[in-house]
Symmetry: D2
Subunit: 109 residues, 4 copies
Amino acid sequence: MHNSQIRPVLDALNDCILACEHCASSCLHEEHLHMMVPCIEADRDCADVCRLTHTLLARGSKHGKHLLRECIEVCEACAAECSKHDHDHCQECAATCRRCAEACRSLAA
Amino acid sequence: MHNSQIRPVLDALNDCILACEHCASSCLHEEHLHMMVPCIEADRDCADVCRLTHTLLARGSKHGKHLLRECIEVCEACAAECSKHDHDHCQECAATCRRCAEACRSLAA
Amino acid sequence: MHNSQIRPVLDALNDCILACEHCASSCLHEEHLHMMVPCIEADRDCADVCRLTHTLLARGSKHGKHLLRECIEVCEACAAECSKHDHDHCQECAATCRRCAEACRSLAA
Amino acid sequence: MHNSQIRPVLDALNDCILACEHCASSCLHEEHLHMMVPCIEADRDCADVCRLTHTLLARGSKHGKHLLRECIEVCEACAAECSKHDHDHCQECAATCRRCAEACRSLAA
């Protein structure tokens, strides 16, 4: 259905959406909540930007490629924030965001 | 991250979003376009309802389960419409929508 | 463009999306943050459910009406939670969610 | 709630989402359907990009401003396409997209 160039990016975006939604929800129930606020904010934005990029690429829109630039930036900002925290969901989200940025970068090239 | 009960539903929803976006875009470039209109409309709605269900389940929201009912209905309506058309993207979309409805039904049970 | 029955509901949904996004962001910067968690969670879900309802009604989808039921429930849950907190953004969000539930209920009738 | 600089942009984005969803749905029921395909595709993308920009600005995200660039481009592309067609919904959509691009441009400045 989607070709071999686009499919891994769609998968990476889906993984990133799942990791960000899960991380935001989990952060809200951590003990040191004030410290987690920038992480929650980054997760929320990253999930939404990845969701639109996923949508546009899935439908073969020419605007999909234009979103990649912004998507890479948001994923990297989220990875940088999440990587500061030791919680499993944060570390996992940071790694997933980095992989997503990498996948988007390959496609943008 | 997401447990073994929820993960297959998230995967089925993602597959369904991809199939519906692709089918809608492909239908718009078929020769007998007037015949494809109900299929395009069903795809558009199904992709959006699956996207919200995916979002709510991914974040562990209690409203995720409430959406399943509507998601099953929209997936079945889309499968019924797509299955009328012989194009590969329609047949593939019909099968994917049916699998998604099935996955949602298991989780709702 | 949209008729006089649907337009006030679209406006109420838009107001509700704006109030919920603003309330969630503001709650994250309140002092007694742990108390605000259920409010943030309700806001997040309410914004997303209203967004899909707005989308489906705007496009004239038959599934728009089906979403109203769930939208009313999510708006009322969000109003109930927000109304427990004295912050302006919470009180404003509670009132906006109640108006949105009311508008959806009129259309569903 | 939202300040006097951001509120008119949120309103313009909401109007644009409504016009694009309505135009896409209406185009699908026009007689010369093949001619309307680029318009339907532009509407679909424009509605989705405006929806994310609306979301990010409503929550006060720093990424909201980054999306403006892309949003302006998508609105202008949609206006250019819609303005080629005489249907009321196309002409109305073209004008609304142009106003939205203008509002986004003021905020980006």
